[in-house]
Amino acid sequence: MAEPRVMDIKDQPGFRSIAVICLLVLYIPVLILMIFSLNSGSLVTHWEGVTLNWYGSALLNEEFHSAAKNTLIISVTATIVSTICATLAAIGMTRVKPWRGLAAAFMVINLPLMVPEIITAVATLSFFALIAGTFGLNFGIGNLILAHTVFCIPFAYMPIRARLEDMDLTLEYAAADLYATPWNAFKRITLPLLVPGIMSGAALAFIVSFDDFTITQLVAGPGQTTLPLYIWNQIRRPMTPEINAISTILLLVSILFVSVSFLIARRRAK
């Protein structure tokens, strides 16, 4: 009888209990937050009964509307621009002959993932202040869009690059062999096969932009409140379950996006 040589982690003592504890620590606070969004009382710590009123008041809240609108404008624009940049960068770094500085370019693209966000935030703020001071230029909400686009690029870049590296290069040779010009080969073979990577890249970029707090907080000007900033402002006042309702809506939007991109990726991979 051949013993399985690979250690099965599930056989290790304590594996199950540790796993369960980790999941509980991760999800119980979120669960409590969601449950209290249905609280009929006006405290987020004392349960009184079930109601959907807080969702109603959240949806009628003008400030929430304006914050949601700002968030969508910034996130959608930043997602589109950063995904296009990331796609071009990934193609330029996987489908060309190795060039000097390839490793450096890779570092530069991924650096925002490693630099502490507060430093990026301060740097971005100083940069826009400098532009405003020197040239008298202020792009309004464009400042936020620019800042978000920049820090979204590495998030969009990673899944796209991974997909390109996994792709069988022989397919592109086969297309060229069958009379496809480089542009046609890209359009008909590489791009369609890259779509799942682009979709997950875009979804990641959207989520990262959607819930960014640190950079947005520093760069945002008056009237540029996004949803995370709005929530932050609300919890500094006496909190009502309305904030739980808004947070839950945000959470559901995020889950929706992640699930959709996951499903698309899985269906395409088949």
Partner: protein, 367 residues
């Protein structure tokens, strides 16, 4: 008919291909020249790393030669990108487009050539019929078996009616039985389409059974080009003799030669006539090559050209191999007998035996 005249589909002239730079330079192809005729099933045969796939990639246009010319019907195609060459490839991994159906895959080349839709449809239907895949034309390529993928890859490469079809070890991923079937299928397709096939393989049996002519390659060079019979019966070099089939090597000394036949003396002072490759002038110490089935055992050592002791007898069902330790020393000599009911003599290990040679059994090798 080794030198039958015919028009050349592909002429490779003095092609070199060097990979890497400086100290890491590797010559994958070292000044190779070969002509491949129209309507020929031509095989590039050699071990992995011999340069056969590099040569195929140069003809396809995926790589460009460091030096030399590649002519297609007399026109130099070496500088052209792959999409401008009327040459198609069947890849080892098939490289079918996973996001397209079988029919879309087959039609892709024609579509890229800008053919009208009706023509593409007609041609795809014809190709589906040719490779017997009509029933599966709407399937995704991931939903069909390996053998079926192989057929689709063939149909896709044949659909644009290329001047030359390149096949890069296309059968290596198939199991034995399917491989045998596809060998016959490939020969049929080549006969029916009349397209020149250039087939790359490391499988000598595949090369011998399918090819009109074979080029044996080693270390970036073409060692010998000829019909399967030429290559098998008249190998020019030790590598060719050794790579294809089982072989005996015997040392000897040339005593005289005349009209392409040398008289070679063994250590035992017995002599044998042996042909030698054209343009080669054998002198002094040489190596002879003898195929195991071109020699015979005799029970009386005095009647053998060379003598020895039977050291091993290996039974293979269809035939039996006798390993003979030669009296002069050196490698064991193998004699193959086809097993038939009429063979009267049986041999025992340890018996003294003589070995006789059929006429033309021995050849002088170049090295």
């Amino acid at each position: 008919m080794p030198e039958q005249p015919g028009k050349n589909a592909i002429e490779v002239r003095g092609v070199r291909k060097v990979f890497g730079t400086g100290e890491n330079q590797v010559a994958a192809l070292d000044t190779v020249s070969v002509s491949i005729r129209e309507n020929e099933f031509f095989t590039l045969l050699g071990p992995s790393g011999c340069g056969k796939t590099t040569l195929l990639r140069l003809i396809a246009g995926f790589d460009f030669p460091t030096a030399g010319e590649i002519l297609l019907h007399g026109q130099d195609i070496a500088p052209l990108p792959p999409y401008k060459r009327p040459v198609n490839t069947v890849f080892q991994s098939y490289a079918l487009f996973p996001h397209m159906t079988v029919a879309q895959n087959i039609g892709f080349g024609l579509e890229m050539l800008g053919k009208p839709k009706a023509e593409i449809e007609a041609r795809v239907a014809q190709m589906l019929k040719l490779v017997k895949m009509e029933a599966l034309k709407a399937r995704r390529t991931s939903q069909i078996s390996g053998g079926q993928q192989q057929r689709v890859a063939l149909a896709r490469a044949l659909a644009p009616q290329p001047k030359v079809l390149l096949l890069d070890e296309p059968l290596s991923a198939l199991d034995y039985k399917l491989r045998k079937e596809m060998q016959i299928e490939l020969k049929r397709l080549q006969n029916e389409t009349g397209i020149t096939f250039i087939f790359v393989t490391h499988d000598q049996e595949e090369a011998l059974t399918m090819s009109d002519r074979i080029a044996v390659m080693s270390a970036g060079k073409i060692l010998q080009v000829g019909t399967p019979r030429d290559i098998y019966d008249r190998p020019a070099e030790r590598f060719v003799a050794d790579f294809i089939g089982e072989t005996n090597f015997l040392p000897g000394t040339v005593v005289s030669k005349q009209a392409g036949v040398a008289t070679v003396k063994f250590a035992s002072s017995a002599t044998i006539s042996a042909g030698y490759p054209e343009g080669f002038n054998p002198t002094g110490e040489v190596t002879l090559v003898v195929r195991p089935e071109h020699a015979d055992l005799v029970p009386d050592p005095a009647k053998g050209t060379i003598t020895g002791t039977l050291s091993n007898i290996v039974y293979f069902g269809t035939d039996t191999h006798y390993h003979v330790k030669l009296d002069g020393g050196g490698e064991n000599f193998i004699v193959r007998h086809q097993n038939s009911r009429s063979r009267a003599v049986t041999y025992e290990t340890g018996a003294k035996v003589g070995i006789q040679f059929e006429e033309d059994a021995a050849r002088v090798l170049k090295d």
